[in-house]
C-alpha cells in the first residue's frame, strides 16, 4: 500500500462522531477521505468554517467558500462561518478535539518541528503553532524517513513548533505515542518488524506492553 495511504487510514480510525477535527495540509488532508462512513466529524478550516464538506461539483464552487488553502469546498448541513479570532479561539481554547499535522521532525520527548528550515525554507508558522499548542489532541502524520534519514530524532535540530509534546506520530512503519518524555512504540505496520522500526528511528523507543500490529 502507498505509504501516505497507510498513514491516513490509520489516523482515520481515531475519528469519532461529534469530534471537531482540523487537518493540516499534505498527508493530513488525506485523512478525511478515509473517515468511516458511520462516523460524522466536524471538519474545522482555520479560515473560519466548521462543517467543511467535499470539493464542489463542477460549476458549483463559489469564491467565498474555501478551505485554508483557498480552494473551493462545500458546506455540510449545519455548517457555520466565523471570524479568525473565533477560529483560533477554537484551537487555543481546546475546543478542537483533534488536529492532524504534517511534520519535518518529531523528537523523542514529542516535540514537533514543522514550520521552518533555517536558511532554506521560512514560510512562516501560519496556524501550526496555535494548533500544536491548543488542540486537545495532536497527531503528526509524516513519513518515517526523508532521504534515508530518520525524521523521528533524539532532539529536534529544526526550530520546534510548540513546547507542548504531541500525542503521537503515525508513519508508514509505526505508531509512536509520547508520554512522560518517552517515545513509546505502540503499533507497527503490517509486514514491518520491530527491528525495522528501531533501525529506521534515531530516537530511543520504548516498547509498549500492548505493542501490536496496526489495523488499517
Amino acid at each position: 500500500m502507498d505509504p501516505q495511504a497507510v498513514i491516513a487510514k490509520r489516523i482515520a480510525r481515531e475519528l469519532r462522531s461529534g469530534m471537531l477535527v482540523n487537518l493540516g495540509i499534505g498527508i493530513p488532508t488525506l485523512v478525511a477521505g478515509y473517515a468511516p462512513p458511520d462516523v460524522q466529524v466536524y471538519f474545522h478550516s482555520e479560515n473560519g468554517l466548521i462543517g467543511t464538506g467535499a470539493i464542489p461539483a463542477e460549476g458549483m464552487a463559489h469564491p467565498t467558500l474555501t478551505d485554508a488553502g483557498g480552494r473551493p469546498v462545500t458546506a455540510l448541513p449545519g455548517a457555520s462561518t466565523f471570524d479568525s479570532a473565533i477560529s483560533f479561539g477554537f484551537m487555543r481554547g481546546g475546543h478542537v478535539d483533534l488536529t492532524v499535522l504534517g511534520g519535518l521532525q518529531v523528537d523523542q520527548s514529542g516535540h514537533l518541528a514543522n514550520w521552518m528550515i533555517p536558511g532554506k525554507m521560512v514560510p512562516g508558522m501560519g496556524g501550526a503553532m496555535d494548533l500544536a499548542t491548543g488542540a486537545k489532541r495532536v497527531i503528526v502524520a509524516m513519513q518515517h524517513t526523508a532521504k534515508g534519514q530518520s525524521k523521528i530524532v533524539k532532539s529536534c535540530t529544526l526550530p520546534i513548533t510548540s513546547a507542548r509534546p504531541i500525542d503521537c506520530v503515525v508513519t508508514e512503519l509505526a505508531m509512536i505515542a509520547f508520554s512522560n518524555g518517552q517515545a513509546v512504540l505502540t503499533e507497527i505496520a503490517p509486514d514491518v518488524s520491530v527491528d525495522d522500526v528501531i533501525a529506521a528511528t534515531e530516537a530511543d523507543l520504548v516498547l509498549s506492553h500492548d505493542l501490536h500490529e496496526m489495523m488499517i
Binding site: Y42, H44, G51, A75, G78, A79, S80, R92, G93
Partner: protein, 215 residues
C-alpha cells in the same frame, strides 16, 4: 445530538460547581435552567455573570433560593437581596468592571491566560493585580476565568447545537458558550439542521454539549 430533558441537564451540575450564565439583567438568561437549579436545590455554586438581575428573575432566582456561595459580577445594584446576603456574610461578591469581566470570560474560552486593560488602573480595582506598562501606558493584567458549566439561552438552536441569538438577548451568551467545560443551552425554538444559515450561526455546534428539550 439529541435534546435532553431539563431535569437531566441540571442534574449534571454538582453542588459547589462554578457556573457562568448568559444574560444581562435577565434578558437572554436561560430561565428554565434557573428554575430547575432552584427546584433541585443546588448549593454553594459560584456564579459568573454580568449582574445578579432582580429578585425573582434570571440569576436573581438563584440568589433568592440561596444556591450561591460566591458571585463574580460587574454590579449588584439592581438586586437588594444580593446586597443583603453580602452584608450578612452569606455570600461573597467579587466586583469586576463589565468590560474586564467579559474579556476574562472570553480569555478562559479562547485559551488566553489573560488580557491587559487600562480599565481600573489607578482605582480600587488594581489592588493585588500586576501592572504592566506598554509604550509608556499602564495596564492591569486581568486573568482568564473558566467555569465547569456554561448555561446559555438562544433564540434558535438546531439539533447539532448551532445557536443564533435575538437582539440584545445575545449579550454574554456567545462568549459564555466558549468558556464552560460543559455547555448547556436552551432555545426559544429548536429547528432542523441546516435551517440556520452558516453566516447566521453565532455559536457553532461543536461548542454545545446539551440542548434542553422544549416543553
Amino acid at each position: 445530538m439529541k435534546t435532553v430533558p431539563l431535569a437531566d441537564a441540571v442534574a449534571m451540575i454538582p453542588d459547589g460547581a462554578r457556573i457562568v450564565v448568559g444574560g444581562f439583567l435577565s434578558v437572554g438568561t436561560p430561565e428554565r435552567l434557573m428554575d430547575e437549579i432552584v427546584r433541585q436545590e443546588k448549593r454553594d455554586l459560584t456564579l459568573i455573570a454580568n449582574d445578579t438581575a432582580r429578585p425573582g428573575v434570571g440569576v436573581g432566582k438563584l440568589v433568592d433560593a440561596r444556591c450561591l456561595r460566591h458571585v463574580i459580577v460587574s454590579h449588584i445594584g439592581t438586586n437588594p437581596e444580593t446586597q443583603r446576603q453580602m452584608l450578612a456574610d452569606e455570600i461573597t461578591v467579587e466586583l469586576v468592571p463589565q468590560g474586564t469581566l467579559i474579556e476574562r470570560i472570553r480569555a478562559g474560552g479562547y485559551g488566553l491566560g489573560g488580557v491587559l486593560t487600562p480599565t481600573g488602573v489607578g482605582t480600587l480595582v488594581e489592588e493585588g493585580k500586576q501592572k504592566i506598562e506598554i509604550d509608556g501606558r499602564p495596564y492591569l493584567l486581568e486573568t482568564a476565568l473558566k467555569a465547569d458549566f456554561a448555561l446559555v439561552h438562544a433564540f434558535l438552536a438546531d439539533y447539532l447545537g448551532n445557536l443564533a441569538y435575538a437582539l440584545t438577548a445575545r449579550n454574554y451568551n456567545p462568549i459564555v458558550a466558549m468558556s464552560g467545560e460543559t455547555v448547556i443551552a436552551t432555545a426559544e425554538h429548536i429547528v432542523p439542521v441546516g435551517v440556520i444559515a452558516p453566516d447566521h450561526v453565532v455559536t457553532p455546534a461543536p461548542l454545545v454539549d446539551y440542548i434542553v428539550a422544549n416543553g
